[in-house]
């Protein structure tokens, strides 16, 4: 109940903001009868309506993750974000091994197999992508050897 109500409210707010920002779109001299504003405002309006319906007639609550599982999810997101930033400056192999190992640990918390999975995936995927599929990946940053 409460999940749908909160989400409905969020949707309502976002769609109002969406409509508000649609009114700010600049129209150019090359205009057609509809223009660039009308369709986004229509979409925003329908979305807002759906948000209202969700608030008025909510479904039963789903079971949300609690405690350790919730922490595991946040760790996973943090690792993925860090991985996205690390991929360019640190090359493919090391960030991939770390990120894959951490994710593996979050699914099944055993350190040894997780570390092995990380290293195995990292090297295996690198060989596959680089040599079998010919994608331009960098194993280690060049500056480390320069």
């Amino acid at each position: 109940m409460i999940s749908d109500r909160i989400f409905g409210l969020v949707v309502l707010m976002v769609s109002l903001a969406f409509i508000a920002s649609a009114t700010q779109i600049q129209t150019s001299f090359l205009s057609d009868p509809v223009g660039p504003k009308a369709f986004p405002m229509l979409v925003g309006g329908i979305a807002g309506l759906c948000g209202l319906v969700m608030m008025i007639r909510p479904d039963p609550d789903p079971q949300w993750a609690k405690g350790r599982t919730l922490i595991a999810l946040f760790v996973a997101i943090a690792v993925l974000v860090a991985y996205a930033y690390a991929l360019k400056p640190f090359g493919f192999i090391i960030p991939t091994a770390i990120a894959a190992a951490v994710l593996s640990y979050q699914i099944s918390p055993r350190a040894g197999p997780a570390a092995l999975a990380g290293i195995g995936l990292s090297v295996g995927l690198f060989v596959l992508f680089k040599y079998a599929l010919d994608l331009g990946l960098v194993a280690f940053p060049k500056s480390w050897f320069g």
Partner: protein, 501 residues
Amino acid sequence: MDILESLMLGFSVALTPFTLMLAIVGCFLGTIIGALPGLGPSNGVAILIPITFSMGLDATSALVLMTAVYYGAMYGGRISSILLNIPGDEPALMTTLDGYPMAKNGRAGDALVLSGVASFVGAFLATVGLIFLAPMLARVAYQFGPAEYFALYLLAFCTLGGMSSNNQAKSALAACIGLGIAMVGVDNSSGMPRFTGGSLHLMDGIDFLVAIVGLFAIAEVFFFIESHGKASSIGVKIEKVMIPWKDIWHTKWTMLRCSLVGFIAGVLPGAGASLGSFLAYMSEKSIAGEEGKFGTGVPKGVAAPEAGNNAAAGGALVPMLTLGVPGSGTTAVLLALLMTLNITPGPTLFSERPEVVWGLIASLLIANVVLLLMNVPMVKIFVRILQVPPWVLLPGVTMISFVGIYSLSGSYFDLLLMIGFGVLGYVLRKLDIPTVPVILGILLGGHMEDALRRAMVIADGDFMYLFNSPISIGLWIAAVVGFIAPMFLRGVLKKPQRITD
């Protein structure tokens, strides 16, 4: 005669050694993807698109490879349904109802072979149907103007939403989220940026591949972390595999009927494979009646949903190729593939790029035969692949997704966006909001707005123009019915619950 000639052209494209090899590789990969619990046709095809694109294959080859993966994944999905009681995607749910009990009764091998044959019959008949129906529909589609296209897109959202969720507001909301995301970037007709917040990264809009991989693949990883991979315990073992001729002969009419039902369900824009397997199973169940013992592991209950499911997968290609409107989650992903390859689906595709269309159709036929030959003797190999533990599989899927998206643009921004979509997909699925309409909205949003605006330019701003032709009035009525009818039919169309041990 016309069709035969076109088919010959198709086979001349598809039977070159390289294309044939791609089809076989695709079938193999696809079966593995389908068989792995947690990877279904949609997310499997989704993570492979960026990689295929980066490999620089030409349009026909890429299309052959990916459709082979698509058909293969539909085949493979039955393996985890029958042996583990875990459907790889929604249409496979119906296969678990009789497949898993049959496997528990010690007939796992029979169930696998029978469902393989049923898949073959369904997919083969649907491809034949596609060959005849698609060119006809393409001729009709020539009469579609912008007003008709606008109504058609609306119909797709309405029926897809109506079928795929238990709550109309939620499915409509999902479509709006997708459409809203499609609006980000430079406006096509006026050249003005919209909803970019001044960010240069957003000027080009949000790449639909980023959204698809995020919503399908990354969200799946979060679900596995939540369940700690518990859902993937190994269920039933299989002994030796024999071909159950008696069961196959016994279920021939079931397969034929279900192929027809599935194909029709697949052709309806927005309905897709879930509806196909559902209707096929339910109609066979009511034909068989009480003595049929559906749900206890009878051969008919295994053959019916698989024939329906695969026939619907073929049928869904009809609206996708002729109108550019996908009928299911996976065809939405295939539409994304076409758009990535700069192929615009629609009636002109048949006249301007016949080698693509007919090459695709010929390779579907080839893939189908390859899959049958591959699946019956090699089923034990695929079963072994099921034993890859999730703590290796899911990190692997994540890394492949990252590499794919990263090799598209080389920007960390797209990766962050992809993670964002993963979180969004997780929250939406938790709240029982379907994610397929989101994808459809992102893919079709631009086209839908263009259609509306061009219609208004033609009509000089008169909104009644949208209801000006019999075709568009019919589409509007179908859209409204498709959205409202499921609310009343919910009691009748109640989905059977998954069986638990």
